[in-house]
């Protein structure tokens, strides 16, 4: 087996604020504007991709984040092996893309997922995100795509003061440094 090397391999805490990269998990981008798509996914993963903007749906194994009216990001809530990831991807690809019900694209290494916990996480994000987190932080499961320090991010509110942040791998080290720097000045 090949060595697996993520970008950050780190976790940090500042007071009650903790930051950590979560790996290995599966991430898959779904796109479709087909009517049967939702039921197909429901059958395959026992989870329905949300149609309401800025929301997500979750079960024990997966979260599906709304990205746009025809685009979703699925990620596994638990760490899973490369083989399991492969099986899931193939299963989805064969049952969606191969029968022309939309696209299934593995983006596991495109995104780096960072978990942020602590009562000051929104103070931290507000240092460089123009997004108004008022409703986002009150509603568990909220999803938003916005900018953080001029970098594209996807944010997923998992519980009170606990969220997952997705950033493109190539930007992850840069944003990680920024987050750590900002966390020192809360």
């Amino acid at each position: 087996m090949l060595n697996f090397e993520t970008t950050l391999q780190d976790s940090k805490s500042y007071g009650d604020l903790t930051l950590s990269e979560v790996e290995p998990i599966l991430k898959i981008n779904l796109r479709s504007n087909k009517r049967e798509f939702s039921t197909k996914i429901g059958k395959l993963l026992s989870i329905i991709p949300p149609i309401e903007a800025n929301t997500s749906s979750s079960n024990e194994d997966y979260s599906v984040l709304w990205l746009s009216p025809d685009e979703w990001l699925i990620y596994s809530n638990n760490k899973i092996s490369y083989e399991q990831q492969n099986l899931l991807e193939e299963n989805l690809f064969n049952n969606i893309s191969n029968i022309n019900q939309g696209s299934v694209t593995n983006v596991t290494d495109h995104w780096v997922m960072i978990n942020l916990k602590g009562y000051k996480i929104y103070d931290l994000l507000s240092k460089s995100s123009p997004y108004d987190f008022k409703n986002f932080k009150m509603k568990k499961g909220s999803v938003t795509q916005t900018l953080l320090n001029h970098t594209d991010v996807i944010l997923h509110n998992i519980y009170d003061n606990n969220l997952n942040l997705f950033v493109r791998r190539s930007f992850s080290e840069d944003l990680w440094l920024w987050i750590n720097d900002s966390a020192r000045f809360l």
Binding site: A53, S68, Y131, Q145
Partner: protein, 92 residues
């Protein structure tokens, strides 16, 4: 810095968007049948008016959807947003 009400994601800061210029300039279906002048009209000519302007915007740092905006360029007031393919809500 405006606030733009993305028809898919809701109100967001202008920094999340990028502008795509004047709206409702459809790409000709049969470009080969156009004269140089007609093609140039499609390719280059834009109004850039002071006042109510119909524009295309892209929620480039959000849902990546393109949509239309009716904006008064003299005071940046946005009168309407509507999806691609929809008719302008005010008389164009």
């Amino acid at each position: 810095m405006f606030i733009i009400n993305c028809p898919y994601c809701g109100e967001r800061d202008q920094t999340e968007f990028s502008s795509g210029g004047e709206a409702h300039i459809a790409r000709p279906k049969q470009p080969t049948e156009l004269s140089d002048d007609e093609w140039a009209e499609f390719l280059f000519m834009r109004k850039n008016i002071k006042g109510i302007q119909f524009e295309r915007w892209n929620h480039s740092h959000g849902c990546r959807k393109w949509f239309n905006v009716v904006r008064d360029t003299s005071n940046d007031k946005i009168h309407a947003v509507y999806k691609m393919g929809e008719k302008p809500p005010v008389n164009k």
